[in-house]
């Protein structure tokens, strides 16, 4: 039995979207109360679409992989679609069974991004 799926291990070892943006249109950051992990997500928007996204954080492999696949999933997508995403859509992409105790790790980057977009939407 492997600890995590191939997707999680791969994204943890070689994240594609880890880093920061110079001029993000939205950014957000939050803490996982379970472990105190902090995840920060930034995105650039154009015509209501996410055109570029990056994440940083001292976090576990699950959160790291979740943030990385999330930004891949949303790049090029309308912000409205991002708001409809659920942790389950991330889970499907991670191709992994995650225990209930670690679901916060999966959900955190998505919650942060959705929170940042909501702030942008309310003038």
């Amino acid at each position: 039995m492997a600890l995590y799926s191939t997707v999680i291990r791969d994204r943890f070892r070689q994240p594609r979207y880890r880093g920061t943006l110079e001029r993000p249109d939205v950014s957000g950051e939050d803490v996982n109360p379970l472990c105190g992990d902090r995840v920060r997500v930034q995105a650039r928007l154009a015509d209501g679409r996410v055109v570029e996204g990056r994440w940083t954080g001292d976090c576990c492999a699950i959160s790291a992989a979740s943030a990385d696949v999330l930004l891949e999933m949303v790049t090029g997508q309308p912000a409205a679609r991002v708001r409809e995403l659920t942790p389950q859509s991330i889970l499907d992409r991670l191709d992994s069974d995650i225990r209930p105790s670690r679901m916060k790790c999966v959900a955190l980057p998505l919650t942060v991004l959705q929170g940042a977009l909501a702030k942008e939407a309310t003038p």
């Binding site: 291990r9 472990c35 992990d37 576990c60 492999a61």
Partner: protein
């Protein structure tokens, strides 16, 4: 045969298979497992003697009262308290501390100061923050030095006539540091401050004599010392408890009640409103008997040897860093560590695959984590049933973590 090997058969849960491997339970600082004698005592109580305590004029009520009050006497003797009036049953360490914070907090005001330390568990920090918010009292913290010890020079400087309360962990739940509490109590008393010691990580592991320590309050939990969850103890010095107003009201804590006022009950019941955790007390009594039979000096020596063995075994693994005092003799039964490049939760999940249960995260001590500049740690912790084989399997598991990710 080591103490751990002798104790193991008494703990039914230790024969469990977890993820295909025999369980290696190294999370006793979070909650210990229970010997059959404790489980049976609770079951026997519910099967034969359960009723509400103190005012039931029937056989079962009398039996339940006798068992509940008998537990109080056993706890008194176990921690060397001067009288049974000094033993207040609560639901756990957290409730014991909140009780003191509420009751003592009412006597504090702006300008008064409460001293805590940077290594406190949130349960000995947040209740005091709430007092400060409500009363305008000032919270100050004794720093932790890089070697895991408290900065006692700064402590001496922070103590002033404004200091009204000093709240300190007897043993750190992360670093394992055994703090020099007897000396700290003496210093605090010299400026007239009350002292609360959080003994949650001490009573299960080292001999504790509350009369000798001299603290005004001493708090601990049943479930970390082989007893059930939902039972805790607050030891209070009689002369201090006597002049303190109860924290909470309800049944049992009164002598007489009128529509507009009430007269408080005697000690210790004044601080025990509502139906108490009777079964918890019965189980705690059995736990105290189990530990007494082993002898706390033997328990302490056994666990200290395991702490030393763990520090040595983990210290040899490349990429592993250990936290807290380097001298195992200055530590309780916990070893906090990290594996380079591995988040503690991933490390714990990897060990769990091999049936090894350790704690991972901030251990409810976020200010300490911030001080150490880390998000969290892995933590192995021991109890009477822990063995050298547990430590060996932990070390093997930790050495293999990098391969899992």
């Amino acid at each position: 045969m080591s103490l751990g090997e002798r104790c193991r058969p008494d703990f039914p849960i230790l024969s469990r298979i977890v993820n295909g491997h025999p369980l290696v339970y190294l999370d006793s600082a979070a909650s210990s497992q229970k010997p059959a004698s404790v489980i049976e005592a609770v079951q026997r109580y519910y099967e034969t003697s359960h009723a509400n305590v103190h005012r039931s004029i029937h056989t079962l009520g009398e039996e339940a009262t006798e068992l509940y009050e008998g537990a109080r006497d056993a706890v008194r003797a176990f921690i060397g308290a001067r009288s049974r009036e000094e033993i207040v049953f609560t639901r756990g360490t957290t409730e014991s501390i909140n009780l003191v914070a509420q009751a003592v907090g009412r006597t504090l005001g702006p300008g008064d100061e409460i001293l805590v330390t940077e290594l406190e568990h949130h349960s000995n920090l947040v209740p005091w923050q709430m007092v400060c918010r409500d009363r305008g009292t000032v919270l100050r913290a004794i720093p932790v030095l890089p070697d895991g010890y408290l900065d006692l020079d700064t402590y001496a400087r922070l103590l002033t006539p404004r200091t009204r309360v000093v709240a300190v962990a007897h043993v750190s739940n992360v670093l394992g540091t055994i703090n020099p509490v007897a000396r700290m109590v003496e210093q605090a008393h010299r400026v007239g401050a009350l002292v609360l010691l959080d003994g949650a990580q001490a009573v299960p592991h080292v001999p504790v004599d509350v009369a000798a320590l001299g603290a005004d309050f001493y708090a601990f939990s049943g479930h970390k010392m082989l007893g059930p969850t939902g039972i805790g103890v607050l030891h209070g010095r009689r002369e201090v408890l006597e002049r303190l107003e109860p924290a909470w009201g309800g049944g049992e804590m009164i002598k007489e009640v009128w529509i507009d006022r009430a007269q408080w009950n005697d000690l210790p019941w004044r601080f025990e409103p509502g139906t108490p955790p009777i079964a918890g007390a019965v189980g705690l009594h059995a736990a105290v008997e189990y530990l007494s039979k082993l002898g706390m000096a033997q328990v302490s020596a056994h666990e200290q040897a395991l702490t030393a063995l763990t520090m040595e075994a983990l210290g040899r693994i490349p990429g592993v860093s250990l936290y807290g005092p380097a001298n195992p003799e200055m530590k309780g039964a916990v070893v906090a560590f990290n594996v380079e490049g591995i988040h503690p939760h991933d490390g714990a999940a990897a060990l769990d695959l091999h049936g090894i249960a350790v704690r991972a995260g901030h251990h409810c001590a976020q200010p300490l984590m911030k001080r150490l500049g880390i998000v969290g740690t892995l933590r192995a912790s021991f109890s009477v049933y822990s063995t050298a084989l547990d430590v060996q399997r932990l070390a093997d598991g930790v050495a293999g973590i990098l391969g899992e990710l």
